[in-house]
Symmetry: C2
Subunit: 346 residues, 2 copies
DNA sequence: CAAGCGGTGGCAACCGATTGCCAGACGGCC
DNA sequence: GGCCGTCTGGCAATCGGTTGCCACCGCTTG
């Protein structure tokens, strides 16, 4: 990363040093007041005299005091914060989910924070561990964790899954089987006799599901399915995927998601193939950009905003009482037909 | 929001509700042992007899006990967490920043969380307040807060600004003056004698800066600048903006950002205007999608990933010592010329 | 039979804050 | 001067768990 010389080095700082951290007590002593006064200075400033407050703040600053959240939420109840973990925050397919979750969280008086685990199960687990103390509950979207580990986490934290089903854990999913059926029927009715599927990450539960559903529906409609991949679910991953599909003389491509599909479109254009005349392309998610790439992409749209909404509701329900309401919610997708899919070449 | 009937209602829950959760005490009582035994059952299983342990686990299970992570880590110091606040998480122009910040945070052993304030100063302030307790420091990107409030916050928290300059507060900015100069020179050299600027949000510091720089450079090069707006910095906002620009018989449009520019491109196409033959369009940020919209967008690209990297480094420096290293970092942008800008119509 | 010993589980003191309640100070008013 | 109300800050309880220390138990050993 070509950084200019003016960029400071990351200080190699062990933030769990043995040095005992500064507590309200320390500040109180330094300022010559009681611990409760220090506490109030931060949480309820108008409750303490301005002169005292300034004095306390000065002492706190001098000592480098910072309140310890964990203990804070020990005495008050909860932090009023929920965390939404996503594999890739820059993947527009999560935007709807994020927005829906945010709205609902905010409506209930909670703050939603997001964390990114870059498709890495390890990072995902680490985030849960790190944030566990700071938030009241988790939303895990497209988790890359194995079932066993999810159950394990479920013992220690409140959380809800999105795009993933695990027995006994509340979650919201989109009906991929049905959506895939819509895609395959669409292509079949356009005369395509074979479909090339470009697979997503191996650890993705959804990726596996989509392929299984596609294979099944295709066979039922006498269309022959082929699977290529896995490919990284990104625009960049599309180039190699497109080349592989061309090598197979594919007439219809179904990409694991829209990012990959857009990457494929670009590569096909580079290689001089016309879409949809020579080849049809369909994606999943209906992301930002799917309607203004060229040609606009046929893709499976899911009510992701509703999913976010529902997932937060579920989570809040968990937090509130132990009444086990409806635990698994299934939402229905629908195919948005645009210009990237057309009749099979003759 | 058309939610299916299977979606649970948001529990109207005051998250300080009376719903006391199950504690070790409860479990202990149910199992007929002491609280400490319950605690040990979970944290140090081999320390308790197997029969007792099973007994306790059964009781815990029956009551639905889940250990409270917050109090558990009451003794841990610092949260090892940084928060990055952005006005709109779905705006791809922040992706580079997010990625850069994440990398650097992770390299230093910190977890980065993101929060969205939807262009709202109130929400931004509220987030700072709510999260203030849960994180070790803040990165404020494109803050919508007035200078005074930023200074105020700076007294209570460690933080770094991005895309914003406030005296005495560390920050990372892109040189908008220089970037704008590049845009204007580009258009001027293509023969454009007037430039229509589509303004961004009024509360945006950057929006104001960009306009000022554009106005200044334009006059210097004898190009006449016009300003329209403000418009919401989104694709949807582009339609009205485009219509207004057409009304002005503009030949060159500079949009506050790429989202707006893409919206403008779409509207121009709808209205039958050819880009760049009839009209040129330039944006800012070089976001995801700017290279595959049609036509591909000429836009000002900034080293946003470096910005994220630098901002986190700055923040970590703040956390570590009070040694005031370099506090303000300026990064240089460069114009990425694509197909949306061309010679002025004759 | 007494001393020794490992294995269990309880008591109570924390962890680092928050908060209800109360007492002293201060000023205004009759 | 006495009474009263408002501010302000301290005491101590509390949040939910963890953990050091000790008592007790049943058994082996000398």
């Amino acid at each position: 990363m070509g950084l200019g010389p003016e960029t400071p080095q990351a200080p190699a700082l062990p933030h769990h040093g043995p040095a005992r951290s500064v507590t309200v007590q320390d500040v109180a002593q330094a300022a010559g007041v009681a611990a409760s006064t220090v506490s109030r200075t931060f949480t309820n400033p108008q409750r303490v005299n301005e002169r005292t407050r300034e004095h306390v703040l000065a002492a706190a600053d001098r000592l480098g005091y910072r309140p310890n959240t964990a203990s804070r939420s020990a005495s008050s109840r909860g932090t009023g914060t929920l965390a939404l973990l996503v594999p890739d925050i820059t993947n527009p397919s999560f935007f709807g989910l994020i927005r829906g979750a945010e709205r609902q969280a905010s409506a209930a008086g909670f703050t939603l924070v997001l964390a990114n685990f870059e498709e890495s199960p390890d990072l995902e687990a680490q985030h849960v561990k790190r944030l566990g103390a700071a938030v009241d509950g988790f939303l895990l979207a497209s988790s890359r964790l194995p079932d066993a580990q999810i159950r394990e986490i479920s013992a220690g934290h409140h959380f809800t899954l999105v795009n993933r089903e695990v027995e006994g854990v509340p979650g919201v999913v989109v009906d991929n089987e049905d959506g895939t059926r819509q895609i395959v029927e669409h292509l079949a009715s356009l005369g395509h006799r074979s479909i090339t599927y470009l697979a997503g990450p191996r650890s993705s539960w959804m990726a596996a599901h989509r392929w299984r559903a596609l294979e099944e529906t295709a066979r039922r409609l006498s269309v022959s399915p082929t699977r290529l991949g896995p490919y990284p679910p990104s625009v960049a991953g599309g180039a190699a995927a497109a080349d592989a599909a061309i090598g197979q003389q594919a007439t219809a491509i179904v990409a694991f998601n829209d990012l990959l599909a857009i990457g494929v479109l670009r590569r096909l254009a580079e290689r001089g193939l016309a879409v949809p005349r020579d080849i049809s392309v369909v994606g999943y998610d209906d992301i930002f950009g799917a309607d203004f790439c060229s040609p606009p992409l046929t893709t499976l749209a899911a009510p992701t905003q509703d999913a976010g909404h529902a997932a937060v509701s579920l989570l809040l329900g968990l937090l509130d009482t132990r009444a086990p309401g409806p635990r698994q919610i299934v939402l229905m997708p629908h195919l948005r037909i645009r210009a990237s899919s057309g009749p099979a070449p003759t």
